[in-house]
């Protein structure tokens, strides 16, 4: 496997406040990488830099960041656009003709549980459906890498579990490269092949852990296997706090 995205010694501060310090990691093609860290540690800033929405002070970012399929924290659907219009927007901006856009979106609606909601406006959807529509938009854009910012953080626990399992299944079909940030240990274990643990502000990489569970093992949140992974991540975070 070759790295699709490489981040090298990335640093950034807002005035005197350092946010990121020497963050370095890579994402392999086809891999799912979780960036795990406490709330407000600068994870979102890191994503904004990767997406080219914000500059940085030092370091380097190499990869197809201009072709990232981005799912923000709260879906960020356009309230005046229907599900289909929202999903096709990145393709529309890139100048793909209407017929092909619509086909692309329509073919994926069922696997995103949005069939029958083509013409619904965002406020008519549940939180989970909005998030799925946001992900549909990211996937449809044909992006080389999916970038998810705490994808299910705003949802209730039951819906969150359901969507995590659903996404885990979807990813095994899509074979896309995925990079997501989260503060939820379980989310990292369910969805990631590899987890990068960040320290609190300024964020730096504390450690890294590969998750080698099968799909079934990932969805069983109460199994000892699942617990061992969670525990491993937790002790890594604790060690980081002591430093």
């Amino acid at each position: 496997m070759r790295p699709l995205l490489e981040v090298d010694r990335l640093s950034k501060s807002y005035g005197d406040l350092p946010v990121l310090r020497d963050v370095a990691f890579h994402v392999d093609e086809g891999e799912s990488l979780a960036i795990l860290g406490p709330s407000g540690c600068g994870k979102s800033t890191l994503l904004r830099i990767l997406l080219g929405l914000e500059g940085y002070d030092a370091g380097e970012v190499r990869g197809p960041v201009d072709r990232a399929g981005y799912l923000p924290q709260d879906a960020l659907l356009f309230p005046w656009k229907t599900v289909v219009q929202n999903a096709e927007l990145p393709l529309q901006i890139r100048g793909v003709d209407r017929k092909r856009r619509r086909e692309e979106v329509a073919s994926r609606l069922p696997s995103f549980g949005l069939a029958g909601f083509e013409d619904a406006y965002p406020h008519e959807l549940s939180g989970g459906m909005r998030q799925r529509a946001g992900l549909l938009r990211a996937v449809v854009s044909g992006a080389a890498v999916l970038v998810l910012d705490e994808p299910f953080g705003a949802l209730d626990t039951l819906t969150r579990h359901r969507l995590q399992d659903w996404l885990s299944g979807l990813m095994s079909e899509l074979h896309r490269t995925m990079l997501f940030v989260t503060h939820d240990l379980e989310e990292a274990v369910v969805l990631a092949d590899r987890v990068l643990v960040l320290s609190g502000r300024p964020a730096g990489v504390i450690g890294e852990r590969g998750i080698s569970l099968s799909r079934e093992e990932r969805s069983d949140r109460l199994s000892p296997l699942f617990y061992r992974e969670k525990d491993g991540l937790l002790s890594m975070i604790r060690k980081g706090d002591e430093r």
Binding site: Y70, F78, P90, I93, H123
Partner: protein, 255 residues
């Protein structure tokens, strides 16, 4: 759904019917002389019997109203765009904009007539003056309500300036602009009538002053009724347009 909407259209008429009934009741119970307070029937008769003459005046008022309204939309949205351009432009434009509303219409309208004559132009300008403020302010608030996170998202999709206007600024500000238009719609006919009242040879306002001078209270009432109907029509027109242009707001209302 259909039945519900049918009832909703119906309610307007019920509301207006109740007012007419109340009006009739007052004239019938207190036996007010017609030259002081004509009944609905007398008023309608006055409109019908004088329809041809009244119609010519009404036509002029409609032209003035629509032209002034259109001018206010253009000027209001332009000023809102300018205010949205920078903090400096906002701070320079907003205070005089608010001050302009402190000028009493009754003081500025005769001046406009002196400057621009007794013809249509002066009335159009008065209508524009009256309608301009709600449109400009609402449009500006609309621009301000644009979510910066959505702007970032568009940028992440690689959107250019035209895309930003098409997918973000225009749809985000449209509800605000339309809300301003609704308020302005009710002001506009009033503005035209005030202008005509102060001077000129055609228009409902002129018709009103003549009716008043000849103690034809029934005709005055008829003219008032027509003014109200015109305002209502314009309001419904804007309302209909806004339902069509902002369907996402529409469905929100009905939830």
């Amino acid at each position: 759904m259909k039945g519900k909407n049918g009832w909703k259209g119906y309610r307007w008429f019920v509301s207006l019917g109740l007012i007419a009934l109340l009006w009739y009741g007052v004239t019938a119970i207190f036996r007010v002389p017609t030259y002081l307070f004509p009944s609905p029937a007398v008023t309608v008769r006055a409109i019908v019997s004088d329809a041809g003459f009244l119609g010519r005046h009404v036509a002029i008022t409609i032209v003035e109203t629509l032209a002034g309204f259109g001018m206010a939309v253009f000027a209001g949205v332009t000023v809102a765009i300018l205010m949205n351009a920078s903090r400096l432009s906002r701070d320079l434009i907003y205070p005089p904009l608010v001050l302009s509303q402190a000028i009493p219409l009754i003081a500025i309208a005769p001046l406009i007539l002196i400057w621009f004559g007794l013809g249509i132009l002066a009335k159009v300008l008065i209508v524009a003056f009256v309608c301009f403020f709600p449109i400009a302010v609402n449009a500006y608030e609309g621009f301000r309500s644009v979510d910066p996170a959505l702007r970032d998202l568009l940028e992440a999709f690689g959107a250019g300036r035209a895309d930003r206007y098409r997918h973000l600024y225009v749809p985000a500000t449209l509800p605000g602009i339309l809300a301003g238009l609704k308020i302005a719609a009710t002001y506009s006919v009033l503005g035209a009538v005030v202008g005509e009242w102060l001077g000129g040879s055609l228009g409902i306002g002129v018709y009103m002053t003549r009716a008043l001078q000849s103690f034809r209270t029934d005709r005055l009432f008829g003219a008032i009724l027509v003014v109200m109907l015109l305002s209502l029509c314009l309001f419904k027109l804007v309302d209909g347009a806004s339902r069509r242009l902002t369907p996402w707001m529409e469905r929100r209302d009905h939830d």
